[in-house]
């Protein structure tokens, strides 16, 4: 059996699922962000795979993946800045401690 697109997509889906699990279950804001990054990574894998198998010449998926990475990087930078800011006020980055706003 040759390794083809389905294998890659399956791998990506599993990584996405694991990331989703982390995003839902982790209690530390940084940890959640890391899980989200894992999901982003999975998506990128998806894109690159599709690019290679579906549009090998145009490489559209690769460009998509590049931009996606840029965005992820930007977001993680911004997010970590936010976490640091919160940490400075509350001395905690636990999500369960952030329930002041509700209703």
């Amino acid at each position: 059996m040759t390794v083809g697109l389905p294998h890659l997509l399956t791998l990506s889906a599993m990584l996405f699922g694991i990331g989703l699990y982390g995003a839902l279950s982790r209690k530390n804001a940084v940890h959640v962000m890391m899980s989200l990054e894992l999901m982003a990574n999975a998506v990128n894998l998806n894109l690159v795979a599709f690019s290679r198998f579906v549009t090998p010449e145009a490489m559209t998926g690769q460009f998509f993946a590049v931009f996606s990475m840029v965005v992820s990087a930007a977001e993680i930078g911004l997010g970590l800045g936010l976490v640091l800011a919160i940490y400075r006020r509350k001395r905690s980055v636990e999500l369960d401690a952030m329930q002041e706003l509700k209703g």
């Binding site: 839902l24 279950s25 209690k27 999500l95 369960d96 952030m98 329930q99 002041e100 509700k102 209703g103």
Partner: protein, 635 residues
């Protein structure tokens, strides 16, 4: 000769009202002569109009007619019009004469009243309406005038509204007659649906089927019963005596109450087309004549005696109508109008003099009030039906008609009623005029009061002789009474008077009714309680309605408001089972809906826990549901 002045006959008093009504009280008082002048003008014009018709006029062929269209609905036009023909001419004379007499009389009777101006305004409006009613050439105009008279009656009964009794009496009178008016109004609706017009010529010449005719006739009869105080709608008239006596004389004796009779006279062709309606009319009249007469026997208030007498006499007129004798009815209407107004005016003088209306406190007035007693005697004899006073002739005519139509049972009852009439007349007369004197310092009425009475007394004394002339004029024969009938009726009348003398007149002491009361406790009780009509109406109709209205008002505040928002309420109870129903059932509209929404909102809000992980789980859950839905859909 232009007859346009006929228009002025109702218009003059109406103008008098229009001038008086908006004025301040003091100005009104000063303008009273204007009102009197207006009615005298109407009288003069009425006489002229009468002479223009008589002799030579024919029923149904107006000598003069004028109409103005007040409404166009599609291709149909509704108009108000006046028509001068024999019936209206005669009625004009009656109304104008009595109206003028009463207005002149009131100058004396009411001169101490602060609000005499208002009294005259109302009286003028009434006169105008009644004149318009008799002149009207269609049912719509008749109805409108009819209603306006009802208003005036209300105003005049409640003239002394600071007192409780007149206030209540006025509203009672208005509403009771209004019950009848409903019938009249529906009759008009039926007529309109059937014929499409209201004028007498078209409506009466319409080819009525028996069924529709019966419906219309009965509805009109119902209206007439209200206005003419026939059983069982008679209850308002005795109470209406709380108004000023001259007003009673005009409205509740001579004219307005006769309007019902007049209506039936006008609509008689429809009654005849029905047949059944005539029979019912007859029996309404019979029952009323008899029962009201009986009630008159036990009243102590002089005006109430006269009031029940009026009801009873109106009953006689209905009897005549029921037997198909419209001319006889009209004849009795005319004579009754004169003698009954005379009696009321006399009663007014007596009341002024004695400062009471209770006959038990009167006595021996014949000597103190000679003119009045003479006039009163004239009226009484007419009422009792003694030759040659007017009542005799007309009552005799009614009995003749009954015999002629072979209504023997009715004849018997009518005769009995005539006997009773004579009895209570005697009772009244003997109690008031010949019984022992109980008061001192009594004085005769003012000239302005006596003069009209004299005129009316004279008319009462002689008008009977014009019966055949009247009949001719109206196109029906009114024969001189047959000797047999006359004998029977006179016998009944004399017997009644004799019996009355035997009970009330032969002793020189005050008669104690206590004895009679003890002798016939049940019968007497029934009579003094007026057959329990008032109690029944008061308890069931008025009380029932009041209770119903209160109930509905509560209902409106709670249930209706609630039901309209039933959905919201249901939602509320569904939205949260544990949410305590706060018990405010009343006025749930916005409250209910709003709190339902608020409760639902509060539920929604519980999802908003503030926990990021919770939110993420909810989001993921929704996504998972989406995934499952798509997979299931695809499968």
């Amino acid at each position: 000769m232009s007859m346009g002045y006929v228009l002025l006959i109702p218009l003059l008093p109406a103008l008098a009202f229009a001038v008086l009504a908006p004025m301040p009280r003091t100005v009104r008082t000063r303008l009273v002569p204007l009102a009197v002048g207006a009615v005298l003008g109407s009288l003069a014009l009425s006489v002229a109009a009468f002479l223009a018709v008589w002799p030579g006029g024919h029923v149904g062929e107006p000598t003069w007619q004028g109409a103005v269209t007040i409404a166009h609905v599609g291709d149909r036009a509704l108009s108000l019009g006046l028509a001068l023909e024999p019936v209206s001419a005669i009625m004009l004379l009656v109304v104008a004469v009595v109206g003028a007499a009463v207005q002149v009389y009131s100058l004396g009777y009411m001169h101490r009243e602060e609000r005499i101006g208002w009294y005259y305004a109302a009286l003028s409006l009434f006169t105008a309406a009644m004149l318009a009613l008799v002149l009207s050439d269609n049912f719509l105009g008749l109805f409108m005038a009819w209603e306006v008279m009802g208003l005036c009656s209300y105003l005049l009964i409640g003239f002394w509204h600071e007192q409780e009794a007149p206030r209540l009496a006025s509203i009672k009178a208005f509403l009771t007659t209004k019950v009848g008016d409903l019938g009249f109004m529906l009759a008009l609706a039926v007529v309109y649906a059937e014929v499409g017009a209201f004028d007498f010529a078209t409506v009466l010449h319409h080819d009525w089927s028996a069924g529709t005719a019966t419906l219309v006739a009965l509805l009109m009869l119902f209206g007439a019963m209200g206005k003419s105080a026939q059983f069982p709608l008679h209850v308002w008239l005795p109470d209406a005596m709380a108004g000023p006596t001259p007003a009673s004389a005009l409205i509740h004796a001579a004219t307005m109450v006769a309007a019902g009779v007049f209506l039936v006279v006008r609509a008689l062709p429809i009654f005849e087309a029905s047949g059944v309606a005539l029979t019912i009319t007859l029996w309404v009249g019979l029952v009323t004549a008899l029962l009201a007469g009986l009630l008159a026997m036990v009243q102590h208030d002089i005006k109430k005696v006269l009031a029940y007498s009026t009801i009873s006499q109106l009953g006689f007129m209905f009897i005549a109508l029921g037997a198909g004798g419209s001319t006889a009815a009209l004849y009795h209407l005319v004579t009754h109008a004169y003698f009954k107004s005379l009696l009321f005016l006399g009663a007014g003088v007596i009341i002024h003099a004695a400062h009471t209306q209770d006959m038990r406190e009167m006595g021996g007035l014949a000597k103190k009030l000679p003119v009045t007693s003479l006039a009163f005697a004239s009226g009484s004899l007419a009422l009792a039906g003694i030759v040659p006073f007017s009542g005799f002739w007309s009552k005799d005519e009614i009995l003749t008609v009954l015999l002629h139509e072979h209504q023997y049972a009715a004849f018997g009852i009518a005769l009995l009623a005539a006997f009773i009439t004579a009895f209570y007349v005697a009772r009244l007369w003997f109690r008031v005029f010949t019984a022992p004197t109980q008061q001192v310092g009594l004085h005769e009425g003012h000239r302005s009061m006596l003069a009209p009475m004299a005129v009316l007394a004279a008319i009462t004394a002689v008008v009977g002789f014009f019966g055949p002339t009247l009949g001719e004029f109206l196109g029906h024969e009114i024969p001189w009474p047959a000797l047999g009938t006359a004998a029977i009726s006179t016998a009944a009348a004399v017997a009644g008077i004799a019996f009355g003398w035997w009970v009330y007149g032969r002793t020189t002491s005050v008669v104690n009714t206590q004895a009679i009361k003890q002798r016939f406790p049940h019968a007497y009780g029934v009579l003094t309680n007026k057959y329990y009509f008032d109690l029944t109406y008061g308890y069931f109709v008025v009380g029932g309605y009041t209770a119903l209205a209160r109930g509905l008002a509560t209902f409106d505040g709670s249930i209706v408001d609630g039901v309209v928002n039933g959905a919201a309420r249901l939602w509320r109870s569904l939205a949260s089972v544990g949410w305590l129903f706060d018990g405010r059932v009343i006025d749930g509209a916005v409250n209910g809906a709003a709190s339902a929404v608020r409760a639902a909102g509060a539920r929604m809000r519980t999802l908003q826990t503030g926990s990021v992980r919770g939110y993420q789980t909810l989001v993921a859950g929704a996504v998972v549901l989406l995934v499952i839905w798509i997979l299931v859909k695809g499968a």
